[in-house]
């Protein structure tokens, strides 16, 4: 059963604090939607309102087309995985898994069959007799997941379910959660503050900040076309560089001036607002700001900079440099050999610039998108497409790396 979830003008006020403001959001049936944002942005409150643990101050919440504002959690037919797992400490794994079905009055043999099936799916078969205190963190996480899975609810709610796991296990569970969603295809709302989880797991990502929804889009769209400064800065690591700039117009073509250079906007992009001579904020992702010797032919712009800090990451290096009075971060190939205070040339592809209105912080540049990303897709297909493209992009890297080694030889 696939159910759609809708928030219509939902507010939540705690005391004088607006935890969630005017939230309008539709989670499509069968979709895996990730709610992401810094702590205190209202994402957990949104999830708890959907679960029925908080009541909205204003607005409507619908699950499967049914208004649930005044429906208690018990009757909402949702399942939730808590950050702390919230396993019943006095019950063994079997009873933890069976609790929900028993509460709904399922027959004993049916409960037993479902518990065993679910335990099998999650690899918990041999642990059924153990208490939560006798399980490892990863096993507890699986039990919490199993308790949600076993019920086959209309909607899965997950509140930072992986945040208590160590890094390796987190990567493994991330893949497993995606696999489970492929298999059961239950509408899922997943809350996290971790943008990597958001990018890798979500069919779509909803970014929240200070109680307001900033943007909802597929991961690539969000990355390529952030709606405002917040989303641009929040998604992507290292952070996007922001430098002040100015829009100008010469013989019918718009140009932008920043970091001491002027460049016409690429022909594919469309300016949605902004008059001549208006102040803008120019956004440049660190990977678009390359080291000249490693840059491709698209990088037609060149900037002179002085290296401030070099942070080697192994497979690459983050270089913080001073360029026309601004501090910018750039992703260098590994073993570039640059040192602090060294003067370097940075290369930039003008087609990869982001422009934001300096006052409102909203994007004013509509950039071309990969085909099919902005329309509603059949979820599974899009997902495989995305990962395929992700791979091909990554395969581009060895070339750059090769360039590096060469340049090192030269120097």
């Amino acid at each position: 059963m696939l159910s759609e979830v809708r928030f219509e003008g939902v507010h939540k006020i705690f005391g004088t604090e607006n935890a969630v403001e005017d939230l309008n959001l539709t989670v499509n049936a069968g979709e895996f939607l990730v709610l992401v944002g810094p702590s205190g942005c209202g994402k957990t409150t949104t999830l708890r309102m959907l679960a029925g643990l908080e009541r909205p101050s204003y607005g409507r919440i619908l699950i499967g087309g049914k208004l649930v504002n005044n429906v208690s959690p018990r009757f909402r037919d949702v399942a939730m995985v808590f950050q702390s797992y919230a396993l019943y400490p006095h019950m063994n794994v079997y009873d933890n898994l069976a609790f929900g079905m028993r509460a709904r009055g399922a027959a004993n043999d049916h409960v037993g069959r479902r518990v065993r099936e679910t335990a099998e799916v999650l690899g918990l078969g041999h642990l059924l007799k153990r208490r939560p205190s006798e399980l490892s963190g990863g096993q507890r996480q699986r039990v919490a997941l199993g308790r949600a899975l076993i019920r086959q609810p209309q909607v899965f709610l997950m509140d930072e379910p992986l945040s208590n796991l160590d890094a390796g296990l987190r990567v493994q569970m991330r893949a497993e959660l995606s696999r489970l969603h492929q298999r059961f295809r239950v509408t899922t709302v997943y809350v996290t503050h971790d943008q990597v989880e958001a990018m890798t797991m979500g069919d779509r990502i909803a970014v929240m900040n200070a109680g307001r929804l900033q943007q909802v889009d597929a991961p690539e769209t969000l990355y390529d076309n952030p709606a405002n400064l917040f989303v641009a800065g929040f998604i992507g690591s290292p952070r996007m560089n922001f430098v002040p700039g100015k829009l100008t117009s010469a013989n019918g073509r718009s140009s932008v001036t920043f970091l001491g250079i002027t460049t016409p906007l690429s022909t594919g992009a469309r300016l949605t607002a902004g008059a001549d001579d208006s102040e803008v904020t120019v956004g440049i992702r660190p990977e678009d700001l390359m080291w000249r010797p490693a840059a491709g032919p698209d990088c037609t712009l060149t900037l002179a900079a002085t290296v401030d800090v070099v942070e080697p990451m192994g497979h690459e290096a983050y270089v913080t440099a001073l360029c026309a009075g601004e501090t910018v971060t750039s992703r260098f190939p590994p073993r570039s050999g640059v040192r602090t205070q060294e003067r370097v040339e940075l290369a930039l592809n003008p087609a990869r610039l982001h422009l934001f209105d300096a006052q409102s912080g909203m994007t004013i540049l509509q950039r071309p998108q990969a085909a099919g990303v902005d329309t509603l897709r059949s979820v599974g297909e899009a997902r495989t497409n995305d990962s395929a493209r992700g791979r091909s992009e990554r395969q581009g890297e060895p070339e750059a790396r090769g360039a590096t080694t060469r340049s090192e030889e030269i120097s």
Binding site: L53, M80, R151
Partner: protein, 290 residues
């Protein structure tokens, strides 16, 4: 490295672990504790020795062993009836207090109740009121209601006077049960009653045990309330009986008195041992007063 090792160490370069100094401090600590232990043990020893001594007096001395004192006490009808009275009094008080404390503490811990904070402060304040203040008005009320000289009505007042602290204690235990477990159970589809019975209650067992045992120990030792509210010999609980015994025979029957107090003390000591493993948390008052 090798250069350092090659140089011979001189005496002042050796790091001397001040082992002897530490052990002197530790020795003093343990000796002082043993002396303090004697201070606490000595008065108790009298009770132990006198109970099995055929010829006891006020001093601690090596007993000439006999079980005659035990036989004497266990053969006395008033001693047996006082145990019965104490059991009824403390048992009834404990059941009443624990059940009511549990029922009251849950909503106070979890539900929205207007003026809850002020209410808890009143409860805390009430648990500090001296019983001496209540003795007279309660006596007057009991006279008026015709409730005097009944173990059950006496237990009712004992329950009322121990309820504030019991509620406070129980609420702290329920507060410690993560509310997320109840949320998880609600989302799992459990009814309020099922949540209380299968999630909250099992996890509150230590709190219930501590509250019940604490109440029982206090009610078992309660003196002034039954002293004032009961008068017939059959209804006198242990403490009152021992007091009367001290008054009437104290100077002659050391052995029986010792046996009586010893027997009367054993139940609460055993109960305390049961409870002690749950109890450490109960003394964690940290910044309870703010």
């Amino acid at each position: 490295m090798s250069a350092v090792q090659a140089r011979p160490l001189t005496g002042d370069q050796l790091i001397v672990v001040p082992y002897r100094k530490v052990s002197a401090g530790a020795l003093a600590t343990n000796v002082i504790l043993i002396l303090l232990g004697c201070f606490f043990l000595l008065p108790m020893l009298w009770m132990l020795f006198a109970s099995i001594d055929s010829n006891p007096d006020w001093a601690i001395k090596i007993p000439s062993p006999t079980f005659a004192n035990f036989a004497d006490v266990l053969g006395r009808a008033d001693a047996i009836s006082s145990f019965r009275s104490s059991l009824i009094l403390a048992g009834t008080t404990t059941v009443l207090t624990t059940v009511l404390a549990l029922l009251s503490a849950y909503p106070l811990s979890r539900m929205h109740i207007p003026f809850k904070r002020s209410f808890m402060l009143v409860i805390l304040f009430a648990s500090g009121l001296p019983v001496s203040m209540l003795v007279v008005p309660v006596y007057q009320m009991y006279v008026y209601l015709g409730w005097l000289d009944s173990l059950y009505t006496t237990a009712l007042f004992l329950a009322a006077s121990s309820l504030p602290f019991a509620v406070w204690l129980m609420k702290n235990f329920i507060d410690a049960v993560p509310v997320e477990l109840e949320h998880a159970a609600a989302i799992d589809g459990a009814s309020t009653f099922r949540i209380l019975r299968q999630v909250v209650l099992p996890l509150t067992v230590p709190g219930i045990a501590v509250t019940a045992i604490y109440t029982f120990i206090n009610a078992w030792g309660a003196f002034i309330i039954p002293f004032v509210l009961t008068y017939s010999p059959d209804n006198q609980p242990g403490p009152v009986e021992i007091y009367n015994f001290m008054g009437s025979h104290g100077l002659f029957k050391f052995g029986e008195l010792a046996v009586f107090s010893l027997l009367f003390s054993i139940p609460v000591i055993v109960l305390y041992l049961f409870m002690s493993r749950y109890f450490s948390g109960a003394f964690n008052f940290g910044g309870a007063v703010k």
